[in-house]
């Protein structure tokens, strides 16, 4: 009895308001997230399993999938390395320009992907700053794989670092200092002390980074050149299929990305739970 009356006091809103707010939130989630996601799968399997299979194993689709995996395979490790370095520097040391570095890391979050793509065209394009120099040496960056990798690295830059910085700051450096005092080498300290402390957060950042790398559209679209079978990633291939009135195939390939989204969500939940368990 006492507990119920206390909740009544704490929550001044009348029951009808609470219920309708919860209902509204649920309804909106259903309408804007669950329904479209379901629609993707319904459309994808509209003409049956075989049509779906044909669409995702067709030559251009296969090449798009390979390219996306390759780009992700290059950019995620790069950003893992970069994110770790940056987080370490920012969480462990006090230095001039620390805040500036923090702000710089966030830039890709704030810049529109189209602009991110255009930056690279401006720098590496044939009419760009290094255009003539690169052409003389026969190096193709824009409208080829390196450009797509660069754009993806840029867009996914902050994910790992942003995940690790607050985590490492809240943990402090006491354990690491202890390890050093007890005679550990830097590498031993990192492997035995730092890494176990941050592993779930690190994985969480990697998951987000991977999802974005696979799904990035805007920046990649600008630097891709849209050559079928050569520079189209999965999202670009989906757009092409859609524009060719090939709706079932478009949604079939899109369903792959949706699976990535669902898996990301599941991993994210799992890792959040793991991080809490470790820290609590």
């Amino acid at each position: 009895m006492i507990t119920t009356s206390r909740t009544r006091v704490l929550r001044a809103e009348p029951t009808w308001l609470r219920r309708s707010l919860i209902g509204l939130a649920l309804g909106l989630t259903l309408l804007f997230i669950v329904l479209p996601l379901a629609a993707v799968f319904i459309q994808a399997f509209d003409k049956g399993w075989q049509v779906w299979q044909a669409a995702v194993t067709e030559e251009n689709a296969r090449s798009a999938i390979m390219l996306s995996l390759m780009v992700t395979g290059i950019s995620v490790p790069l950003n893992l390395f970069f994110g770790l370095t940056a987080a370490w520097t920012i969480a462990r040391f006090q230095f001039k320009g620390r805040n500036l570095l923090l702000t710089l890391i966030d830039i890709p979050f704030g810049v529109s992907p189209v602009v991110s793509g255009l930056i690279f065209v401006l720098v590496f394009g044939a009419q760009g700053w290094f255009g003539a120099w690169l052409a003389d040496r026969d190096v193709q960056i824009i409208f080829a794989v390196p450009g797509i990798v660069l754009a993806t690295v840029f867009v996914t830059f902050p994910f790992v670092a942003r995940e690790l910085i607050p985590l490492m700051q809240s943990q402090g450096s006491d354990e690491e200092e202890a390890a050093i005092v007890l005679g550990a080498t830097a590498w031993q300290m990192f492997r035995r002390v730092t890494l176990p402390n941050i592993k779930w957060g690190l994985l969480y950042g990697v998951v987000l980074c991977t999802a974005r790398a696979l799904g990035e559209f805007g920046a990649v679209s600008v630097v891709s050149g849209h050559i079928r079978g050569a520079t189209n990633t999965i999202p670009l291939h989906v757009e092409i299929l859609y524009n060719e009135y090939n709706y079932t195939a478009a949604f079939a390939v899109a369903s792959l990305l949706s699976v990535v989204a669902v898996v990301t969500l599941a991993l994210k939940k799992f890792l959040e739970w793991k991080t809490r368990e470790d820290n609590g």
Partner: protein, 332 residues
């Protein structure tokens, strides 16, 4: 930094490895030619294999004509460009010097192996009774056309409307401007390319009439069903000439000059012309034209040279920043 470099180098190496094997051509084209070149590339590969024994794969890139030209200027290494209008290839020649200024004289018919025109796609039964260009300026008629700034087809549509107005108003420029202004008042949304507009009209159900490439209208009819849409031929329209060219510098660099030239020449052969006609592009070749005459109703077609004095002039007056189109569309 070293790591980034080595990664970039290895990916370059990977793309070089993929490139080994058959001869590769890159054809950078505009939006609605997807189906045409899918057919044509297969036919050309057969022909080239038979003639030289060499396998050739033609890669395609499609998008709005202006945007595609921009990409080639920025370094998209096309061996061949097949764009919606000559001004866009002029731009490649002028801004990036990748091919000579006289490129259009190198192949027959102004380097235009096929032509097209702008016609109307309306909803079944033509509920708004749209028969000719003057029906498009009636209040309450929703007209769908892409943005002339980015889409070649839209520039042809705009000029077709302008030309029609000129020819019906004793070449009165002011009256034509008023006509086209009223037409664009009826445009609820400007997509960036022809395909986007077709989707807006057919899938999203916006507007009463789509100003469309002839080939795009036929394709739309085939894709979405003749029970939903019908094609209307206006009494007159513009002769749209989408040109083709070898991009000399890139072809020379790739060592593909010979096969790139053969590719374009093949567009002019009987087989090439038939493929064009089958995909609803008007063939130049009389044999193919006669065979597919029923696909292409006769209408009066005026050329851009007759009415506007060529693309350079038309572009400068109408579509450059601050040009007539900007004035018209801002006035909206």
């Amino acid at each position: 930094m070293k790591r980034i470099l080595s990664v970039m180098l290895s990916s370059l190496l990977a793309s070089a490895l993929f490139a080994a094997g058959p001869v590769k051509l890159l054809n950078v084209s505009y939006d609605p030619t997807r189906e045409l070149y899918q057919d044509f590339n297969a036919a050309f590969a057969r022909y080239w294999k038979g003639k030289t024994g060499v396998d050739v794969t033609v890669n395609q890139s499609h998008g709005g004509s202006g945007k595609q030209a921009r990409s080639v200027i920025d370094g998209l290494q096309a061996d061949i460009v097949t764009l919606a209008l000559s001004y866009d290839i002029d731009a490649i020649s002028e801004k990036a010097k990748l091919l000579p200024a006289n490129w259009q004289t190198r192949l027959p018919n102004n380097s235009t192996p096929y032509t097209s025109t702008i016609i109307f796609l309306v909803r079944k039964g033509n509920p708004k009774q749209i028969k000719d260009w003057n029906d498009l300026v009636r209040p309450g008629v929703g007209v769908i056309t892409p943005n002339p700034k980015t889409s070649g087809g839209a520039r042809w549509s705009y000029l077709a409307a302008w030309g029609y107005a000129l020819r019906h108003n004793n070449n009165d420029e002011a009256k034509s401007k008023d006509f086209v202004t009223r037409l664009f008042k009826n445009v609820p949304v400007l997509d960036s390319g022809a395909r986007g507009s077709t989707t807006t009209f057919a899938q999203r159900g916006i507007g009463d009439v789509l100003l469309s490439w002839e080939n795009e209208a036929h394709l739309g009819l085939k894709e979405f069903g003749a029970d939903k849409f019908e094609i209307v031929y206006p009494t007159e329209s513009i002769l749209a000439e989408p040109p083709v060219a070898v991009v000399d510098k890139y072809a020379a660099k790739h060592g593909t000059t010979e096969v790139a030239k053969a590719y374009l020449d093949y567009l002019y052969t009987d087989e090439g012309q038939e493929i064009a006609a089958r995909n609803y592009y008007r063939p130049r070749n009389e044999k193919a034209a006669a065979k597919y005459a029923s696909s292409f109703p006769k209408l009066t077609l005026f050329t851009i040279d007759q009415v506007f004095g060529g693309w350079q002039k038309a572009q400068k007056k109408h579509f450059d920043d601050g040009g007539v189109f900007d004035q018209i569309y801002q006035a909206k």
